[in-house]
Amino acid sequence: MSFKCNYLLSTGNSSIIDCRSILKDKNKKSTVVKGESFVSSDISTGHFSLSLSLNGFTLFEEYPKKSVVNGMDFFYINSGDFYMLKDEYNKNSIYLSESIQDGSEIVYDQKDIDSGSIAIQENTGVGVWENLTIPELTGQIYGSQPLDAEDFFDRWNVFFNKKKVNVEDSLEIDQMTGISFAYKKGINLTEIKTNDFDIYGTGVLPNQSELYIDGLKKERKTFIEMNTGIVMIKVGIESKKEIQEDIKTTFSL
């Protein structure tokens, strides 16, 4: 079976105090009811502070527009997947643009505030992705511009139709239409692309890793971070042990 495994590993630096400053709250969950979901205000500091996924698909946040109809405020978005509002009780609500079944769970991670960039690929053909769509994405980036496509994928998480893609996927994406978006990656991040599920010796900060398999984000419960000295499966060990049930009563010496 062929699959693409992408680990995003936060490695921090050598000082434990400095590492604390880049820790993010990750893998929080919230249930969707009638297209709305609540997120913790401790984690969401406002617009564009969350990375949100639903069934492994990563969603794009758009700042909502407002229209007033009959004295009431109505919010809406165009191409994005969700928007966030804060009510008078400082409660953050996520509103999804597509209707999904009640009870579905969204998974959200804290991220550096970044509104990201979005582009629609309407045509297919060789070079469409690299020559049209990617320049449209990078054109919306403020500040430090990517030097080339590799630098863009190195410093930004790039998604196509809500799945994480890599620079090697260009030929495949050329044949597709859809929506692409990009978010800036955090600092001290190592991305490992592999066809093996298990990776070793990377020195990662606990509970800060992200895993994408074939572009779909996996929940944290699907992988375990630990010391390389641990052997998960041992063989050659006696599977039964005699237990002597001879205890009648107890006393303290």
């Binding site: 921090g12 050598s14 599920f197 606990p206 000295g229 009563t249």
Partner: protein
Amino acid sequence: MSKESIKYSLTSNFDSYNNLKFYFDFLDSGLNENYIFATGENLSWTGALNNPSPASGFEDCRAVVLGAYGTSELSASGEVSLSINESGFNLNESNLMINTENLSLSDCSVLIDFEFIDEISSGVLFGSLEKEELELPDLSYITGSKGYNVGITDRGHLFLHGFSKNGDFVEVFCQQELSKRNIISFSSSPTSINISFLDFFKNESINYTKDVEGFYISSPDYIYIGGSKNTFKEVNETNTTFNGYLKSIYILNKGLGHEKLFDLQSEFLSNYEFESGSSEFIEKPYFSGEFITYMTGITGYECIVSSGQRQIGRTISSHEYLPTGVLNIQEGGLAEILINGELIEVGVLSDSDSGSYNPTGQGAYDTLGLQNYSVDISGYEDNLYFSGESGYYPIYTCNPLTGELTEISGIEQVYGTTGFYIYEPNSSGVTLELNSEKFKKDYIYYNGERL
């Protein structure tokens, strides 16, 4: 990490050092050198570790290094030194045995900093569990217990092994994955044992509680680091079971909460800083007077002599009086007449008309009256003759001198500086500068396909 930071932490948390019964920091090379000794006699010596200051149980809680045997005091001490390197005390080579006199295991706290070596296998890190079975007259058995064991499973999870009214228990704390280096704490109270994983990244401790009556965990005579008298694998306390390094261990004679233990360990690991007090002068201006500024300008000239020849004028060489003709002078008027070769101004009286006065007699005495007579006299003028001589005469060059004039151009108000001192007392504190690398994870195992 230093003795000073330990002292600072103890005094700031407990006001004294009395709560620390035993500690050893194998990363402190100074401690290693000064506190290793050997106990024994003749040809049988065993290495040991003195309980360093500021631990209060100095004599009670010495640690014997069970694998450090020698035929002399020196060789046994050398064996201890060989077990210690920059990673800590190698528990693969030897266990430690600590006397628990005056230490109650059912009301104490322990902090252990350890590091795995290579592949992890199950082992006891802190061993104090003792069980004793007695056969009753009816041939049944009763079992009693002391202490408990804390260790690591083959899977790399912390476990707690003890004995309670329901018999042996082994509680494994599967929620917490361990790193290469880990710091744990455990404390006991009359009703429970709390084991905590100290997460220095998140600056918190993760606590697990096992309810055990203090009745079952009273202190044995010794506790063992790296082994135990009673484990589910080994029964000999001298057998090493733990594949790793002990970096430091602290035993306090008080059951403390896991948050307090986290704070203590953070301070023990920190660097101590002391700053001497100082005094700071706070300046304050005051009005001290006025400064008057006078106008400046030319106050005079300074003339200096310069050399040179210059004709500066004429000198009188001679003169003579030349007649100017007859002058008719009214009697009584002034005229210059030549007397003995000099022109002298005199009043003129007429010789021809002399004696004719009016009034005369007494009247002349009353009034001196002069009549309108005139007389002709010869007039002269002084005719001067000059000579045009030249010579050396001083020639002066004059430059203006500037300085203050008497006119005032301005008045400036002048302020002096006074003030007072603020005295800062001596200050001290600790700063955590812990290297993170060995606390990170370095193996990611994917469950997805295996679940």
